[in-house]
């Protein structure tokens, strides 16, 4: 009986396998105009990362609504399909596959987390589905691999953290003793290397006295804060974000960490509202790109002003930069479709044509110009400043701002980024715009 069962079962398996092997693989999405365009949108809407991911989801909602209110894309309505990245990488990958293969979603805005981007990019490639990375910024994404369908609507960790180091150097801050506390994954480790290498290029005496990488989502940084206090660094650099950043700042504030050392809180602007005037004064902060809601470029852009107004009315918050990153990614999708439609005489693009339309695309985003380079990486400017409380504002603003042009802080296509940093010309800092040169 048992013997029989094995035989039957394997026979059944072989039979079904043969049948399936002869079936043609389903083909879809070629040339036909769909009733509506589904766009996969990946972000964190739960867990500790949600405080950073939710503004992006809100922004996506607003952007798709306003696109549809304006008639959609050549009459086709857009419908976002949200995926929560907090489910873990394997679930996110499986959702990506499901959206493509069983819900026929032809384009994805994915993802927030670098880990998820790194995992999803090969899947997008395999499924031949254009994927626009909207926040993940590990420079490893495009470093060794050439993708056909994967693009990034924002810059990488290299220009982002070269900018902070350049800002400190231009301001002639004391960078002799540096302490770093970053989250324990690519984003944190990459930033630490880029930041400290840039400092060392111009100030070889700059020393890393303490380097800590607590895990993502650590509930308590008590020991780490003691360690930082005990090391007495002149500069403390952190690129924590989301609940990690809130926890760290909340726990470090009463312990006077930020009055002992000059703080570089790279993503500090995202928690301005949360901390209000308690946010450390004079900390170097920025937006990992140009997504500052109060920059001259944003104030001069009527579409951006409408977006900010709608955002504040609906969500009772100012849009922090993740919201702008998402909004800009939606604009990239729109621009790519419009370009593909234009170049194909109004015929609805398949994924191949869409990917070709993304190549070299230039978009005027809500916050400034964005170019998708030959390596598919985004090129934008970098805004850095310091936190300052001003009369009449319940939370700090960015003061002493500078807007570094993207080309000046980004290594050229195919250059090894760390090598590029190590060989920056001696007069590099003089060629950059000066702190305080941008804005009111």
């Amino acid at each position: 009986m048992q013997h029989y069962s094995r035989k039957t079962a394997s026979l059944a398996g072989v039979l079904f396998g043969l049948v399936f092997g002869l079936l043609p693989q389903a083909a879809w999405g070629a040339g036909e105009r769909p009733a509506q365009l589904k766009v996969g949108v990946f972000t964190f809407v739960s867990g500790p990362a949600a405080s950073y991911g939710m503004p992006a989801k809100n922004a996506a909602d607003l952007m798709f609504e306003s696109l549809n209110a304006g008639g959609g894309l050549a009459g086709v309505r857009l419908e976002p399909v949200f995926v929560d990245e907090a489910q873990g990488t394997d679930a996110v990958v499986s959702e990506f596959r499901r959206l493509v293969t069983s819900r026929h979603v032809p384009v994805m805005i994915a993802a927030l987390s670098s880990a998820n981007c790194l995992a999803l990019a090969p899947v997008a490639e395999q499924l031949k589905t254009p994927m626009i990375a909207w926040n993940c910024d590990t420079h490893h994404l495009f470093l060794k691999k050439k993708y056909r369908y994967v693009f990034r609507a924002n810059t990488s960790t290299v220009p982002e953290f070269v900018a902070y180091a350049a800002y400190l150097l231009q301001k002639k801050a004391d960078v002799s003793r540096v302490g770093i506390i970053d989250p324990d994954y690519a984003f944190g480790h990459d930033a630490a290397v880029i930041f400290s290498e840039t400092l060392r290029r111009f100030r070889p005496d700059s020393k890393l006295v303490v380097e800590l990488y607590p895990r993502l989502g650590s509930p308590s940084y008590s020991t780490e804060i003691s360690r930082l206090l005990a090391a007495h660094p002149a500069v403390i650099f952190t690129n924590f974000w989301g609940a990690d950043l809130e926890n760290f700042v909340r726990q470090a504030l009463p312990r006077k960490l930020f009055s002992q050392s000059l703080a570089v809180i790279a993503l500090g602007t995202t928690v301005f509202e949360e901390f209000g005037q308690r946010f450390p004064q004079g900390a170097v902060v920025g937006v990992l790109g140009d997504g500052w809601y109060h920059s001259p470029a944003v104030r001069a852009n009527p579409q951006a002003q409408r977006f900010i107004k709608n955002y504040q009315e609906r969500f009772h918050q100012v849009p922090v930069f993740p919201a702008f990153k998402m909004a800009n990614a939606v604009l990239v999708v729109e621009a790519a479709y419009r370009r593909a439609l234009r170049e194909n005489k109004g015929q609805w693009p398949d994924s191949e044509r869409l990917a070709r339309a993304l190549e070299g695309l230039r978009v005027k985003t809500l916050t400034g110009p964005l170019t998708l380079r030959a390596d598919h990486d985004g090129l934008t400017d970098q805004i850095v400043g310091v936190s300052r409380n001003v009369a009449g504002s319940p939370y700090p603003v960015m003061a002493d701002m500078v807007r570094y042009p993207g080309e000046l802080v980004t290594p050229p296509v195919d250059a090894d980024p760390i090598q590029w940093i190590k060989t920056l010309p001696a007069d590099y800092l003089e060629r950059l715009p000066k702190p305080g040169s941008y804005g009111p």
Partner: protein, 296 residues
């Protein structure tokens, strides 16, 4: 450098002890390895934060948030203790570890979603109890007073538990059941009642740990899984069922982690499990565990 390491280690040890003590007590009494322990810890934290914020919103004195810490643990214990024991655990007594694991893991999974439904998926915080006590300067490093006070609190919990079990009638009843349930039943003790009371008390300890830790740690999804595994590590190192053991284990792991953060940051997370593996290899019953006899 040594002073901050010791202080950080002690305060970490206090948190670890509070995480683990409920687990080890429940194992001592019921012989149940309760995977859902971390869930009760997290529920305690959530309840304390919610109650504290309510008190704040009602304009009540901020000092009340300390009361909220204990009250929330009582609430969680009253709500979940008897229910879990009667409905789920009771059926597994004497059926071996696998059935227990399944049941408590099931409860763990269910409570994880209950937390999300009730308290949302965002991180929650109430640091009123933390900021109210201010900060102090120890050896040139600024610490929140609450964090230091927690060390004292953990010691108080440890000694009151010892006193309760050895010095009160209720505690002696519990111990008699632990020692020999059969004998206890013959001498007229309602072992079922003792079981439900003991489990509820374990839930209370778990929730108390969570609520006392909450001003420092906040509460967020995922904290139950972390609390469960840390509690397992500390309880196993000290000897399952041994309250003093949990204290000793918490000290070792807490100080070990603090030293790791200063001298070998790559190993700070692995410390509890490296210690656990090393200890269990040579003393499977744990540091203070006793072989084959049920003691508390």
């Amino acid at each position: 450098m040594l002073t901050p390491i010791v202080i950080d280690g002690l305060s970490d040890a206090a948190l670890l002890f509070l995480v683990a003590v409920g687990l080890t007590m429940v194992f001592g009494v019921l012989r149940v390895v309760n995977i859902a322990h971390g869930s009760f810890f997290a529920l305690g934290a959530y309840a304390a934060i919610t109650l504290g914020l309510w008190a704040g919103a009602l304009g009540l004195s901020q000092a009340l948030s300390y009361g909220a810490l204990v009250l929330s643990a009582l609430l969680v214990a009253a709500l979940f203790g008897p229910l879990t024991e009667r409905l789920c655990l009771r059926a597994t007594y004497g059926r071996g570890e696998i059935a227990q694991m399944l049941v408590t893991f099931g409860i763990f999974l269910i409570l994880d979603d209950v937390q999300k439904l009730v308290f949302g998926v965002q991180e929650r915080q109430n640091d009123a109890p933390l900021s109210l006590l201010g900060v102090c300067n120890l050896g040139g490093i600024v610490y929140p007073v609450y964090q230091i006070a927690l060390v004292g609190l953990a010691v108080v919990v440890a000694f009151s538990l010892r006193w309760f079990l050895r010095g009160t009638r209720a505690g002696k009843l519990v111990l008699s059941v632990v020692h020999d349930a059969e004998m206890a039943r013959f001498s007229g003790i309602d072992t079922a009642k003792v079981s439900v009371a003991a489990f509820t008390f374990g839930v209370f300890l778990a929730a108390l740990g969570g609520s006392l830790a909450s001003p420092i740690t906040g509460a967020a999804p995922g904290m139950s899984a972390e609390a469960t595994i840390l509690a397992f590590a500390v309880a196993a190192i000290g000897g399952l069922g041994r309250v003093e053991g949990a204290g000793l284990a918490a000290l070792i792991v807490g100080l070990g982690r603090a030293f790791a953060v200063y001298y070998a940051p790559a190993f700070d997370r692995a410390t509890p499990y490296l210690v656990m593996f090393a200890v269990l290899l040579f003393r499977p019953q744990g540091l203070l565990g006793v072989v084959e006899t049920r003691r508390l």
